[in-house]
């Protein structure tokens, strides 16, 4: 197998590739800025320089020339080479800063150059704490500066587009943002303008940087030059907890991180998953943080006489719904699942009402043809259409469903978290004369029309699974505490830096922002007067699903975590095994 020697250590490589990527994969350190595994390689930052050489081949003998000591004679390239653009070659010898003082010096020199015109305003820069320039400077940079002149001045706090703000003075001209718009989002909206040390990225004259993926440039910008208009100055990164999640704003299910502080989600960034979204996510998914924090249904709401909803106790909500169930025939219950709600909640919903004799379950997919882009935006506006399909809910349309509601047949409507009344094709009508119960995360026109609203946890508050448009089941982790969860006690929550090092006086333990809500499965467990459900966590709900439903066989949180989601063997038209669907346990 071909071999390469890095700092006197021998490595083997199978595939052709570049030295820097090989080193990163092997866990070796080398500073770099402009290189990104998904983008072309401009080798412009010059930070990743190494000393490289090749053994001298004796062409006649076909062997390597050896010196007196029997060591291979190495002929080094006359200049330092950039590892990011250097091809792995059999027999190549590499020296990094660990084994060559010149390389070490060159890396420090380069950082000194980068810093001479950099504003060094880390104390007020959003990137501080997660800034490659800051990190690499501490690690490889020079002490102090010898630059005694006026720095170059460029536009600051400049709005490139609706979501991205540029501080051109911080830019180190790595061109990652430009390459992103050229090669990934293909909007070609950015270019570098001007020349030399006056360079900075900009759109064409009169054009806005409104690329639907524009915020990815903020993620990959190795400094604080590009910042999110939304997140700017909101929080320091080290004050936040970072929890893995799933984008719930469309069917692709981009993997995300939810960043929380004070029990609020402050920003959403992509999490690498090469099966789904690589390193990217659409801007729309990042704005979902607002719905996790604002306008939440807090405690159950009930409509007494008249039209005003009031808050009520959980006990009262449960008793009211039991009462409704008792006086309603199973055939008079209209049960509507939700492509917005996770697999576990739809399952519990279905299982509960099935036990009450309901035989038909509906849901309305929200698929808007033409709104997707074939990349990370799907036509499907919901995160779990496939999940609901697999649980044997019948697909229907807004029109059909509303005429069902209008009719006299149904006395009790139960609707899992889905604001149907907001849908563009929902006919403008009221929910008729039936008793209308909804489970919801947020206040919507639909909850406003309901007689009983049960607050449920959102994707930031529960561990739950969603099946994306490609049939991949992926799960979230609770990022935010509810009234009933606690970061330190609840093992299903992520652990962040503050969990390890914070004190209870840290302001992220903010009672105010804990919503009074529970996962829907938990509600159904409580609702069942005979206490027939023995789940203690969503993990147990999913385990039951994978035990009883063949398509979910072998799916577990552990597997989803290690494999970054599990592909289910379904196609859109595969009928789900009807017999083995959810039967109440004896």
């Amino acid at each position: 197998m071909p071999e390469i020697f890095i700092d006197y250590q021998r490595f083997e490589f199978e595939q052709p590739g570049k030295v820097l990527q090989f080193m990163l994969d092997a866990g070796l350190d080398l500073p770099f800025f402009c290189y990104h595994p998904c983008l072309s390689i401009p080798a412009n930052c010059r930070q990743c320089v190494v000393k490289a050489g090749m053994p001298v081949l004796n062409r006649e003998k076909g062997t390597f020339e050896l010196d007196d000591k029997g060591e291979r004679i190495i002929r080094y390239f006359p200049k330092l080479m950039t590892a990011c653009s250097l091809d792995l070659t059999d027999g190549m010898v590499i020296h990094t800063h660990h084994s060559d003082p010149l390389v070490k010096q060159a890396q420090a020199d380069n950082l000194e150059f980068i810093l001479i015109n950099h504003p060094l305003d880390c104390p007020i820069c959003d990137q501080a704490g997660e800034c490659p320039l800051q990190i690499l400077t501490y690690k490889y940079g020079p002490e102090g500066s010898r630059f005694e002149h006026k720095k170059v001045h460029k536009p600051k706090a400049f709005r490139l587009g609706p979501r991205v703000v540029l501080d051109a003075e911080r830019c180190i001209n790595c061109t990652r943002c430009v390459r992103f718009t050229d090669e990934i989002s293909k909007s070609h909206q950015l270019t570098i303008v001007s020349r030399g040390d006056k360079n900075y990225p900009l759109t064409a004259h009169g054009q806005e940087f409104d690329d639907p993926y524009s915020l990815n440039t903020v993620d990959i910008c190795p400094v604080g030059a590009l910042t999110s208009a939304d997140f700017r100055f909101k929080a320091r990164v080290w004050e936040m907890n970072q929890t893995p999640g799933i984008d719930i704003t469309n069917g692709k299910g981009c993997n995300t991180y939810l960043w929380t502080r004070d029990n609020l989600v402050l920003r959403i960034t992509p999490r690498q998953n090469d099966h789904v979204n690589s390193h990217w996510m659409p801007d729309s998914g990042r704005l979902a943080y607002q719905r996790f924090n604002e306008n939440r249904v807090h405690r159950p709401h009930i409509k007494l006489d008249g039209n005003d909803q009031v808050r009520t106790s959980w006990n009262n909500a449960i008793l009211t719904l039991r009462e409704q169930l008792e006086k309603t025939e199973a055939s008079e219950i209209l049960a509507i699942g939700s492509p917005h709600a996770p697999v576990e909640d739809n399952y519990a919903f279905r299982k509960f009402f099935k036990m009450h004799g309901v035989s038909e379950f509906f849901f309305v997919p929200d698929i808007r043809p033409g709104s997707g882009d074939g990349f990370l935006l799907s036509d499907d506006q919901t995160p779990n259409t496939n999940g609901v399909r697999l649980l044997d809910f019948k697909e229907t349309t807004c029109k059909n469903l509303s005429s069902k509601i209008q009719g006299d047949k149904y006395k009790l409507i139960v609707l899992l978290d889905d604001s149907l009344f907001d849908r563009p094709d929902w006919p403008a009508i009221d929910p008729g004369n039936s008793y209308f119960t909804v489970w919801a995360t947020n206040h919507t026109p639909t909850t406003a029309a309901a007689h009983l609203v049960i607050p449920v946890t959102c994707a930031a508050e529960h561990a739950a699974s969603y099946v994306n448009v490609d049939g991949r089941i992926q799960r979230t982790v609770a990022a935010k505490e509810t009234r009933y969860t606690n970061r330190r006690l609840n093992l299903e929550m992520s652990m962040g830096r503050l969990d390890h090092y914070g004190t209870q006086f840290d302001n992220w333990v903010d009672e105010k922002n804990r919503i009074d809500c529970i996962p829907a499965w938990e509600f159904f467990k409580k609702l069942d007067a005979e206490a027939r459900f023995d789940w203690n966590s969503s993990r147990e709900v999913l385990n039951e699903i994978s035990r009883t439903l063949p398509v979910f066989e072998g799916v577990s949180y552990e597997r989803m975590d290690t494999l970054l989601g599990v592909p289910l063997s379904i196609s859109r038209n595969t009928p789900v095994d009807q017999k083995k669907t959810i039967e109440p346990k004896p």
Partner: protein, 429 residues
């Protein structure tokens, strides 16, 4: 070999009026070389043209002095897909203004050379990238190209042979860096003029990813001479390792600045004192920048016996470059000269690579500080340190070109720099 320079008859810019017109050019053997090649494909196969040109050892006149035929031989065998010849007429290096003379007085010689080159490397599309400020000369060249099309030297089935070639002129937009060959290709492709990382070299992946050869205008103008007279004849002109006619662009403190055509290997003193009429106002020479602003300046006291060819100049510690000689007299403030050159490179760095983008500015600002009388002795060491950190660490050679004049001026004229630093209020520091 250059003793008889006084009787030398110019070959690139012959003293014949009206050569810009194709009829006149044809009258003086114009396009004969092309005809010879195309009419005798058996003796003049593309490979044979490459061999002859390689044997003639036409050293690239764009600055690097690379053997043109050897460069052509790097083109991979044809595969039926497009290949390109790009002619570099960007000519933006301070002190260099020779290609302009070819456009102005003998454009057909260049066109003929370019067509032969295209034939040799089997390219059917020729681009000519011309410095945008050369508007007037572009017009002359465009007219010449049009005439060549009318006469069937360009276009389909040239002179009845199974060979097509198109020539397209492209004007630059004022960036020096677009003269660097890979940046020139980016610019031709309609992109920002950022030099490319090499490898891959242009012959492997050039314009639109296809094999491409880039040659300077003057380099190509030499090609018909080789075809007409043979490589042996050509190699007998001028210096042995750097043969052929050279357009010496002489400027600075000189009585008769201008472009002069003489064989390579001319004595520097002859060029300055006899050809160009001596130093202005009878002053003494202080320094010579031999081949455009990026070549290291030479002190007057090393010029005795020095000739204008790459070997001799390398030994003296400089380079042939573009043979754009800048003459500096005894009154010249070297600090000021170097600052001005630094200002140019600071202004022209494309800004892609860190050491060049930041280093050029730092050099200029430090030199300006010294020039303005605020310099400190430690600034000189700082300047050298910056040069060390720039040289050889960038994508293209602009960083080297920016560093060399500073490094060698400080090394060779250190007394002047020190004197300047000592005049300041910081003298004791």
């Amino acid at each position: 070999m250059t003793d008889d320079w006084k009787t030398y008859k110019p070959l690139l810019l012959p003293d014949l009026p009206g050569l810009t017109d194709i009829e006149t050019y044809e009258k003086y053997e114009g396009y004969h070389a092309l005809k010879t090649v195309l009419d005798n494909p058996d003796t003049w196969s593309p490979e044979e043209v490459v061999l002859q040109v390689k044997d003639a050892n036409i050293r690239g006149r764009g600055g690097a002095g690379f053997n043109a035929g050897l460069k052509w031989s790097f083109m991979p065998p044809p595969d039926g897909k497009p290949r390109y010849l790009a002619c570099n007429g960007d000519e933006s290096e301070p002190g260099t203004f020779k290609d302009r003379k070819i456009f102005e007085f003998n454009p057909h010689l260049f066109i003929e050379g370019a067509i032969i080159a295209a034939y040799a490397i089997r390219a059917e599309q020729i681009y000519v990238y011309i410095r945008g400020e050369y508007r007037a000369w572009v017009r002359i060249l465009q007219k010449a190209v049009d005439q060549a099309y009318q006469k069937g030297y360009l276009g389909k089935n040239i002179l009845g042979a199974d060979f097509n070639a198109d020539m397209t002129l492209h004007m630059g937009a004022g960036a020096y860096i677009c003269g660097e060959e890979s940046s020139l290709m980016e610019s031709l492709e309609g992109k920002r003029g950022y030099p490319r990382v090499k490898p891959p070299f242009p012959a492997q992946r050039g314009l639109w990813g296809r094999p491409t050869t880039i040659n300077n205008i003057e380099t190509l103008a030499n090609v018909p001479l080789v075809i007409r007279n043979g490589s042996e004849w050509y190699r007998r002109i001028g210096a042995e390792t750097h043969p052929g006619p050279i357009l010496y662009g002489i400027s600075g403190h000189i009585n008769k600045p201008g472009v002069y055509e003489y064989p390579s290997g001319m004595s520097v003193h002859t060029l300055i004192h006899e050809v160009a009429g001596g130093i202005r106002k009878g002053k003494k020479l202080k320094a010579l920048i031999p081949g455009g602003s990026s070549t290291p300046p030479l002190r007057a006291d090393v010029l005795d016996g020095l000739t204008m060819d790459s070997d001799s100049l390398r030994k003296a510690g400089s380079m042939m470059g573009t043979a754009g000689m800048v003459i500096l007299d005894e009154d010249t403030d070297m600090v000021d000269v170097v600052w001005r050159i630094s200002h140019f490179y600071h202004h022209e760095s494309c800004g892609q690579c860190t050491p060049c983008r930041e280093g050029t500015g730092w050099l200029e600002k430090t030199l300006r500080k010294i020039r303005n009388g605020d310099g400190e002795m430690r600034d000189l060491d700082l300047l050298l340190a910056i040069c060390n950190r720039m040289e050889g660490r960038t994508i293209c050679a602009l960083a080297d070109a920016a560093a060399w004049p500073v490094r060698y001026s400080i090394e060779r004229f250190r007394d002047e720099f020190e004197a300047k630093c000592k005049q300041t209020v910081y003298a004791l520091s």
